[in-house]
């Protein structure tokens, strides 16, 4: 039977009908739809036992205990730890991204050496062979090695400073921030002892003079918890209705350069109504006289721009409260606060008799030192990196031969980036321990990547703003993902090679020793607990008045008239910290009026916009004496007239695709100001000019 066309057609027809009688078409239809649930290019979810381990969030201020959930030992997410007193179960968006940061594309995967301008991967042996001779060559020469640390609470600092000391250098600096600035004013200017802490849990009225305490100042997570509990009434004075102001019972709009004046204006009323503080304060009479003379209601109104009634009612609230607490500090939670503002805020607390008392300003003892060769913590904190960089750039100080960067990214996160770059260029050899390819690491000659904080053992002694001395330890929760090393252990190894005795075999023994000195239970510390001690340091030689103070009070700020608009920096944990760029999940939480494509937004009110000829959505240039940024305008009536809010955390040039090229780095608009009197250098908030960028360009 030959198969002709008709026969073939019949065969096909039979085949089609027959196929319908088999499972083939039906099963295939079903399976194809099941296939769409399981596309091989879509990752599968893990399967297995879920448990959680305590860890310590060390991404920069604030630091607190968290819990890391794991599946078969692999971390999947970070949650708040209800048992850790510094977090009480809360978490901030940056710490909540901790686990994802482990796998950030920006992680440095192994040691690297720069050769002809490009990094090449090397082994750890090669890395040590590279660094050890360099250090030993500089050993004994004075101040040839410098170090910047951005982690103010870790015992690693003792190792770093101890190593430097052993090499003959005193150039250990902390990345400038509130810790160093508060320390400077409290100890060097006012003669105080111990570190300042603030007992927010004990206060019933909190007046914030600038600090965005529900977002960027101190331990925001803990403060948010307290706020939620409603334990204190919150008043906010500052130029912008930030998250703290929005939540506060009252927002008192004051330009940032008038916050110190406001403190003294309030002091005027308090001095009038209250008997002198019990604390023995030298110079009280001089201050009294100064305030009574210079902050009369009329003067105060001129200096603060506030109605007399406002100041009076504010003072009334402070006087009526049982446990009021005044918080001076930076608007962005970093180094943008002058010594003057800090001093005035401290004074107000002192005049209200709020020192070393429940709900007041606390003097917390220094952490015990476990590296014998290291300088004291007070000594370590007294280095002024901004002043040093300025001197190096100007050539008034000889640049060190070698500089170490630990958990610090000065190229990105210091004001006046031109000056920073200029100073760093003079340093011939730079080493970064960064976990991430940040802007500073990129300028270094040698990268010795440190473990991510979830991969390493580390500690935190009394993070800034804590009400009392406390100590937490975080154990690693997973094996390192990349070929990284714990920096303290690496440094201890190196010190052995350099024949320096830092007094410890390993970081672990060192931390155990510290816990022992504190009489803290190691087991409790490593299972997510915290050691705490309420001892305070009594003060016997506090000075409210001296030469430096009178000079600090007397000076007037320079006001270039070319620039009209007050610049207000703002930090948001969704965009990272000075150490960490925008985390993977953080980027998607930025609203359309915060970042659009790659342009970030500045905020100003309608009146300011009109004055400067810009509108909602205008593309503008912000020009300060130090630099220029490009941004879009977001009209926000929660900003004072003649002020502009510039968010920080944008404009990274390295890191990963979640932060690189997103907006501009507003820090380049800020300058470095070295205050006469206090001698302290800080980030100045200059006035700026805003101009529309022509669409044609």
């Amino acid at each position: 039977m030959a198969l002709d066309r008709r026969g073939f057609l019949k065969f096909v027809a039979g085949g089609v009908i027959g196929t319908g009688l088999t499972p083939l078409p039906w099963k295939l239809t079903d399976d194809i739809s099941i296939w769409t649930q399981n596309w091989p290019w879509i990752p599968h979810i893990p399967d297995g036992e879920i448990n959680s381990a305590p860890a310590l969030a060390k991404l920069g201020q604030p630091e607190y205990g968290i819990l890391v959930s794991k599946v078969k030992g692999s971390p999947i997410l970070a949650r708040g730890n209800p048992n850790h007193p510094l977090s009480q179960g809360g978490i901030d968006p940056l710490a909540a991204s901790s686990v994802q940061l482990l796998h950030s594309p920006a992680r440095i995967r192994q040691p690297m050496r720069k050769k002809n301008g490009a990094f090449q991967a090397i082994s750890w042996e090669q890395a040590i062979q590279e660094i050890a001779p360099k250090l030993s060559g500089l050993k004994g020469q004075k101040n040839k090695v410098a170090c910047v640390s951005g982690d103010e609470t870790s015992s690693t600092n003792e190792i770093l400073a101890g190593l430097l000391q052993g090499l003959g250098s005193e150039k250990f600096f902390f990345h400038p921030g509130e810790t160093t600035l508060y320390h400077h004013i409290w100890q060097k200017i006012m003669g105080g002892r111990g570190h300042l802490g603030f007992d927010l849990p004990g206060a019933d009225l909190v007046l914030s003079l600038g600090p965005d305490l529900l977002e960027s100042w101190g331990n925001a997570v803990s403060q948010q918890y307290l706020f939620g509990q409603g334990t204190f009434r919150l008043l906010y004075a500052g130029p912008v209705q930030n998250n703290t102001a929005a939540m506060a019972s009252r927002w008192i709009p004051v330009h940032s350069d008038a916050l110190g004046h406001l403190a003294l204006a309030l002091a005027y009323h308090i001095l009038k109504k209250r008997s002198p503080p019990r604390q023995n304060l030298s110079g009280f009479r001089q201050l009294h006289r100064y305030v009574r003379h210079n902050y009369t209601p009329l003067e105060a109104q001129k200096k603060t721009g506030l109605e007399e009634a406002t100041i009076q009612s504010l003072a009334g609230e402070l006087l009526q409260a049982r446990r009021p607490l005044v918080l001076p500090g930076s608007l962005s939670g970093s180094c943008d606060v002058s010594g003057f503002d800090l001093y005035c805020g401290f004074c107000l607390n002192l005049l209200l008799d709020r020192l070393n008392t429940a709900g007041g300003m606390q003097c917390i003892p220094e952490p015990p030192k476990v590296v014998p060769g290291a300088p004291s913590w007070s000594k370590m904190l007294s280095g002024d990196l901004l002043a040093e960089l300025r001197r190096i750039a100007q050539g008034s100080t000889e640049a060190p031969e070698l500089m170490l960067f630990y958990e610090s990214n000065p190229v990105y996160s210091l004001p006046d980036s031109k000056l920073t770059r200029k100073a760093l260029e003079k340093i011939p050899y730079k080493v970064s321990f960064s976990q991430f390819m940040d802007e500073t690491a990129a300028t270094c000659d040698l990268l010795l990547p440190q473990h991510h904080f979830l991969e390493r053992l580390d500690d935190a002694f009394t993070p800034f703003s804590s009400a009392a001395a406390n100590y937490s330890v975080g154990l690693p929760v997973l094996e390192p993902v990349h070929s990284t090393r714990s920096t303290p252990d690496l440094l201890l190894d190196l010190s052995g090679k350099l024949e320096l005795d830092l007094g410890a075999e390993s970081y672990e023994t060192l931390l155990k020793e510290k816990a022992g000195l504190l009489d803290a239970d190691w087991g409790k510390l490593t299972s997510g607990g915290m050691w705490r001690n309420n001892t305070v340091v009594s003060q016997d030689r506090l000075e409210l008045w001296n030469d430096r103070i009178s000079r600090m009070l007397g000076q007037d700020r320079e006001r270039p008239d070319k620039y009209q608009v007050h610049m207000v920096p703002q930090t948001d944990r969704r965009t990272g910290s000075p150490r960490t760029a925008i985390p993977p999940f953080g980027l998607k939480t930025l609203r359309e009026e915060e970042l659009e494509q790659n342009t970030f937004f500045i905020r100003l009110n309608r009146q300011t916009a009109r004055k400067n000829g810009v509108r909602e959505g205008s593309l503008v240039k912000i020009v300060s004496p130090e630099g220029t940024c490009r941004a879009k305008v977001n009209l926000d009536e929660g900003v004072m007239t003649d002020a502009v809010v510039v968010p920080l955390g944008f404009g990274h040039t390295y890191w990963d695709q979640f932060s690189r090229g997103k907006g501009d780095n507003a820090l380049q608009l800020f300058g470095i100001r070295c205050e006469s009197g206090s001698g302290m250098c800080h980030c100045s908030t200059p006035r700026v000019r805003i101009s529309k960028i022509e669409a044609a360009r």
Binding site: I34, T36, I42, V99, Q224, N243, R574, G638
Partner: protein, 260 residues
């Protein structure tokens, strides 16, 4: 509203959320916790409500007054888990239903055909579509949780009140020999409520007088978004500020001033 538009079903438990707008600082911890918990991929762009895959969005509300009378508030918007969902009845393939004890509106990814009719129906924009396949940077897929399956492109997704935590809580109760349908306060709370540092997000059974949400939802300061449309949301908001409460719904001129 015609009969066909209403689904009347009564549940013993009614999971609900009460968000205190006056306590929300807009910090974004809830959003990050939500993304991590529910395997929502990170994005290389900032939030784009037209395209971003998100379950929880924090709106910034403004009172519209000029400086210095201005005031702002943050309003986190999860899925409202409506008592009378506008989305469920329109789905042609029963991929979204309101049938579980507790009244969570389910969304079944392997069933969804991606017609987006539910998105057109939802006035809260709680529902988002997977315009592309999800992508994690190399290595970051290791942080996927076992709680929620990964969604391919072409399906709709939304907040589920972390219902997997309900499943886990029920299992825990079973393991301890308790009735899985009588959970204690806070035995089951979504990731956002857990992460919130100020405790602005309360969660529990609205029917159960022992749960704090029961009282909170009856507060004179409580309101729901677009209550007038008849969606019966199971998410309540609290604010002592009249202007915030008024932004919860639309009012024409002759309507009574709400809360004022």
């Amino acid at each position: 509203m015609s009969e066909s538009m209403q689904i009347h079903e009564h549940f013993q438990i009614k999971w609900g959320m009460v968000i205190d707008v006056d306590k929300c600082t807009g910090c974004g911890a809830c959003q990050v916790a939500c993304q991590a918990e529910n395997n929502i991929p990170p994005s290389q762009q900032s939030f784009d409500r037209l395209r971003s895959v998100h379950w929880l969005y924090v709106y910034k509300l403004e009172n519209g007054r000029p400086y210095p009378e201005s005031d702002i508030a943050y309003l986190p918007r999860p899925c409202m888990q409506c008592g009378n969902p506008s989305c469920a009845s329109v789905c042609p393939v029963i991929a979204t239903t309101k049938d579980e004890e507790g009244g969570i509106v389910s969304q079944i990814y392997p069933r969804c055909i991606g017609c987006r009719y539910c998105m057109a129906a939802c006035p809260y924009h709680s529902r988002v579509f997977n315009w592309f396949d999800p992508v994690w940077p190399k290595g970051m897929e290791k942080t996927l949780t076992p709680y929620v399956s990964v969604r391919p492109r072409g399906v709709v997704e939304k907040c589920t009140f972390c219902h997997h935590r309900f499943q886990l809580a029920k299992r825990r109760a079973r393991a301890e020999g308790r009735d899985p349908h009588h959970l204690k306060e806070d035995e089951y709370i979504p990731a956002c409520a857990e992460a919130c540092p100020t405790g602005a997000i309360a969660f529990g059974d609205l029917h159960n007088p022992e749960h704090k949400v029961h009282q909170l939802s009856r507060s004179e300061h409580a309101f729901r978004i677009l209550e007038r449309l008849g969606t019966e949301p199971q998410v309540y908001y609290l604010s002592r500020r009249p202007w915030v409460r008024r932004q919860g719904d639309n009012y024409v001129q002759k309507d009574q001033q709400r809360g004022e």
